[in-house]
Symmetry: C2
Subunit: 159 residues, 2 copies
Amino acid sequence: MREEVSPVQREIQQRKPFRSRSQEGVVALLRTADVVRRYIGRVLEPYGITPQQFNVLRILRGAGSEGIPTLTIGERMIEEAPGITRLLDRLEAKGLVRRERCPEDRRQVLCYAAPAGLELLEQIDGAMDAADDEALGMLSEEDKTELIRLLDAVRAGHR
Amino acid sequence: MREEVSPVQREIQQRKPFRSRSQEGVVALLRTADVVRRYIGRVLEPYGITPQQFNVLRILRGAGSEGIPTLTIGERMIEEAPGITRLLDRLEAKGLVRRERCPEDRRQVLCYAAPAGLELLEQIDGAMDAADDEALGMLSEEDKTELIRLLDAVRAGHR
DNA sequence: CGAAAACACTTGACGTGTCAACTATTGATC
DNA sequence: GATCAATAGTTGACACGTCAAGTGTTTTCG
């Protein structure tokens, strides 16, 4: 029975085998997400926008003309508020986003996608659809479904 | 036939369904990795070290007394050199790492885990094993194996 | 009603990731 | 053997991400 060496193990040039499936899984998950994140980043680069900024813009587009408060954006991404504030600062500086205090509750700041932001999104949409397919293109539809199921289960376990 | 709403979709409070399995998969992958990354980060926090720093230390421990050049560390993580240089700067400042120019090839900088770094790692090892198990604890061994297989396939496709 | 608690951010400090440009060496070549 | 390309790192500028603390605004409640 010969020694099996997993792909992840080879990648990180590790001599010792993983202590458990769990350890190998965590490493594989984090490394794979990094690879995909970078890939998406490169696709977005020509449009002068980062993955996070793109994400926020998509959320704002989804919110429509009603706008959406800063913290709500943070919930839909996974991030804490401080990051969102500054992300919006940069998007606003680029003219892709508009913000204004909510009249009903002056603690809140409502955020909207500016026209320029919506236009940019439309330019990107096609490329991003292609990028998503490309990113997981090596998996069959069944594999994708299975991957999604497993990932959903992992997140569900964290609460 | 009723409308199915995926967990990811619910999480990001998205009204429109995903355009494709690929899109849903990419979102699930990135979100799940974020969740796990944060979890690992919280486990490490009491030890005054970040996930990346822990990662580098483990790599240095693996390299042993021969040391390992800066760029090689970068290859085993996925990062670019600049990040590694500064990561090492901080670890050296904490006394967890030692660096010196390689006499054979003075362009290289050999890095070693300092004794304090090795001690810290030993203190953490147990907690990290437990954390890995906890992170994927909701999956059966078969599910973990399947997840690893799918993730390996995704990374293999990116090259 | 008025003080205290709860909210919704915002700001500051720091760790990390990326790219581009720069320095120091080493290797390759005519 | 001097020149030029390739290496190995470092540095600067900027986008995030996190935590802790600070600023207004409601809410809650005695």
